[in-house]
């Protein structure tokens, strides 16, 4: 819960536009300095143990040598997680909440890929999955509960898909 509280505190201070943009640097409010992240334990079996006392900014929810995960939760109850490379570039996003987050702010220039993925052909009301092209996106859920993933395969750490949930 400590982390969640930090994230909530950070979220309330930040306008929505301060979210990370896919393919760019994470937002100042949701990212720790690179040097701070670099000192985190790079272990795949244990989560980093961020504590409230050691950080005045949000710290990664999870960190490996290949990437870090930052989480924020806004006033509407939407949780957004940003997957950040050591080079400080966001290569993936996930979201979950009662409505979709501001996808234009999160995806930046890739927002148009999301729109065209859905508008190029009809697929009913259900899951939108687009695995062709530079942006891969999976938009799922139903009114009241949405979740999804967007990522840039060219920036994806090699072992992430293969280690799916391992």
């Amino acid at each position: 819960m400590r982390f969640v509280k930090i994230a909530l505190a950070a979220a309330t201070l930040l306008p929505l536009t301060s979210h990370a943009v896919l393919g760019g640097a994470p937002a100042a409010g949701s990212s720790a300095p690179v040097s701070l992240r670099a000192t985190r334990q790079a272990a795949s079996s244990t989560a980093s143990t961020a504590s409230a006392s050691s950080a005045s900014v949000a710290t990664p929810a999870y960190s490996t040598s290949a990437y870090s995960v930052y989480e924020s939760r806004d006033a509407d109850g939407i949780t957004v997680r940003e997957y950040v490379l050591p080079s400080n570039v966001v290569f993936a996003l996930t979201w979950q909440g009662p409505v979709r987050p501001d996808m234009k702010a999160l995806l930046g220039n890739y927002f148009s890929n999301f729109v065209s993925a859905g508008e190029e052909r009809l697929r009913g009301t259900g899951t939108l999955i687009q695995h062709n092209g530079e942006l891969q996106i999976e938009s799922a859920g139903r009114p009241g509960h949405f979740f999804g993933t967007a990522y840039l395969p060219r920036l994806m750490p090699a072992d992430l898909r293969a280690n799916n949930l391992q």
Partner: protein, 442 residues
């Protein structure tokens, strides 16, 4: 069973009234095959009842064909009329309305209605935060695949022989109001331009028959972004709460009888799929002979979003639903090859997963299913496939507070699951026998 028998009796009684009212019933009422009368039923009239005529006036045909512009999209025909119209002269019958157990309410493309009907539909006003109270209510309805934008209107919605009188519906793409930025930025793809006639194909709208009576309990309590708006002028819309009674309504809940849920009954498919499938959308569950919930039915309680938990390969996936609006099995299995969004294994994969209510009530249900090569099967150009799957990925996330793996993973049992089954979608606040809704059963 007592409640059930009572309900059945009442239903039969009312059914006979309906039948006589329509002059002896339709031609469809001649068959009663497949009906299992409860062995313990105590008939008030005679111990050896003659086969009673089966009342099918509570059902409409479901069609799965290529006219919906996508595979595995079940549709029904709906007639829309001005609320309270004295006759049917202003009504418009709209085909190709997607049957969607994943959403609530009727949403129809403006282009599928006549100009006269567009003009006759009553404007829904009275948003909670509209101090004047006379501004039209307009909705940004979010779906996984995008959004629909348009005003809320009141209409009589006729499904076969049944009518939902004076219920709020959404008219999509009437051009009357400009979608606000927070609708388009959260909605993403605008489904409006995709709806309506497209050559000899059409997708004219959605009949949302999910577990809930109204569209959004959340929007009744708080202003949510990309939700309901009130629009005093065509280009100034403000987010608002909307009382439940003024929200888009589940048309099944608006019926006078048979209003506690639905049964979707589709036939099993041959290997390789089928060019066209017809089945039934039946109104009511346990209210009359053709919608009885079998004693051995698998029952899954669902949560406030219509979701339950699916366990697949050791993972408990809480974002799980049986959803007629999703056209394949959507889940994550990194061992199956994909092409684009679709699974394309070299040979059919026999898989299984276990469904259970997230709150732990009831019994888990193991379900076996098959995933075939989407590229190969869709080469036939058919509309219906029962082994179509898509890769719904997930990314690993830890919660540092609990050291637990979290997951945005989902497992959607789309239309392939419905073939060869009767799927019961029971509404909130409804009760079938001793079982309280909302639940899904099959």
């Amino acid at each position: 069973m007592k409640t059930f028998s009572h309900t059945l009796g009442v239903a039969l009684l009312s059914a006979s009234v309906v039948l006589s009212a329509c002059g002896g019933g339709s031609g469809e009422s001649s068959t009663n095959s497949g009906i299992n009368w409860p062995a313990s039923a105590s008939w008030p009239v005679t111990p050896t009842p003659p086969s009673p005529p089966v009342d099918t006036s509570n059902s409409v045909p479901i069609v799965v064909d290529t006219s919906m512009d996508a595979v595995n999209q079940p549709s029904v025909t709906v007639t829309l009329c001005p609320a309270g119209a004295p006759n049917n002269s202003q009504c418009v019958t709209v085909t190709n309305m997607l049957v969607d157990t994943g959403s609530v309410g009727v949403r129809v493309a403006s282009s599928a209605l006549s100009p006269a009907l567009n003009a006759q539909l009553l404007t829904q006003v009275g948003a909670t935060d509209d101090k004047v109270g006379s501004a039209p209510i307009v909705q940004c309805a979010l779906f996984a695949s995008g959004f629909t934008w348009g005003p809320i209107k009141r209409a009589d919605v006729i499904l076969g022989n049944k009518k939902a009188s004076n219920i709020p519906i959404q008219v999509i793409g009437d051009g009357g109001y400009t979608a606000p930025d927070d609708c388009t930025s959260r909605g993403g793809p605008d489904l409006g331009p995709l709806l309506g006639a497209n050559g000899n194909r059409a997708f004219n709208g959605i009949v949302g028959i999910g577990h809930f009576v109204r569209d959004s309990s959340l929007a009744a309590k708080s202003v949510i972004p990309a939700g309901y708006y009130y629009c005093p002028t065509t280009d100034s819309c403000t987010g608002t709460r909307v009382p439940l009674t003024r929200q888009v309504m589940n048309p099944v809940a608006g019926l006078a009888t048979n209003n506690n849920g639905t049964v979707i009954r589709l036939p099993a498919l041959p290997a390789g799929g089928q060019v066209r499938v017809t089945g039934q959308l039946i109104f009511g569950v346990g209210t009359q002979a053709n919608n009885a919930l079998p004693a051995n039915a698998n029952i899954l309680q669902v949560d406030g979003n219509g979701l339950f938990t699916t366990q697949y390969q050791g993972r408990a996936i809480i974002n799980s639903a049986i959803d007629s609006g999703t056209n394949g099995y959507a889940f994550s299995d990194a061992t199956i090859p994909t092409t684009g969004e679709w699974y394309t294994p070299p040979s059919d994969q026999a898989l299984s997963a276990t469904m259970a209510s997230t709150n732990g009530t009831g019994n888990p249900v193991m379900v076996q299913f098959s995933i075939g090569n989407a590229t190969n099967m869709m080469g036939s150009g058919y509309a219906a496939y029962d082994n179509l799957g898509m890769y719904l990925a997930s990314l690993p996330v830890y919660d540092v507070s609990t050291n637990n793996m979290l997951s945005e993973e989902g497992f959607l049992w789309g239309l392939p699951f419905f073939y060869g089954r009767s799927v019961y979608t029971v509404l909130e606040n409804a009760r079938v026998g001793t079982q309280a809704g909302p639940f899904v059963a099959f």
